[in-house]
Symmetry: C2
Subunit: 102 residues, 2 copies
Amino acid sequence: MKYTEFENCGLKKSLDMISGKWNPLILYHLFHQGNYRFNELWQTIPKVSKKVLTKHLRQLEENGLIQRKEIQGFPPRTSYNLSNKGKKLGPILKDLDNFGNS
Amino acid sequence: MKYTEFENCGLKKSLDMISGKWNPLILYHLFHQGNYRFNELWQTIPKVSKKVLTKHLRQLEENGLIQRKEIQGFPPRTSYNLSNKGKKLGPILKDLDNFGNS
DNA sequence: CAGAATCCTTGAGGATACTG
DNA sequence: CAGTATCCTCAAGGATTCTG
């Protein structure tokens, strides 16, 4: 496999999806509590700036791992939860966790 | 899970082990051909500089995923191959590859 | 509340030259 | 052959302030 091929392979795509600094933690929380509003998630992971948290969430959404819902009204609210695709990552992340602990 | 806990969890450790730019490709080649000398590997992945390739290999070795053997004599030779631990990553990387292709 | 805008720091990775 | 040694670039992430 050459580098140009690697760039398009599934492994690379998967790693790009989850390797952002906060992505594993975001996914972890969505796995275990299901549903978060933006500020709720931010307070759960207080060390990340809102800008960066937003960026991570946008990428996760673009990659189809999470869903973002706007709730109409004022003040504005958003709700984030895992997509079906995102849920399929669960066992793999668990495998990686076990591997890292071995 | 708080960030401080995440820093020490297995998932973080695993991601740190494999998320270096060239690590997946290095592991891929070692999986499929078993044994490489330094220059052989470098010519297989020619876009990486020797400095960076060395750094990746050192880290993989420190994390116990690969083994490095020096062959005495001149010119110097080294041989790299997967450790038993490294081989256990195979199925997980395959899962990630499938996931990324889905 | 859920971001967007702005400016800044840091380190991973790259390019090139040198060496035992 | 298998690396070191230097110098350099760039983008991820951080800090802070502003807004509909």
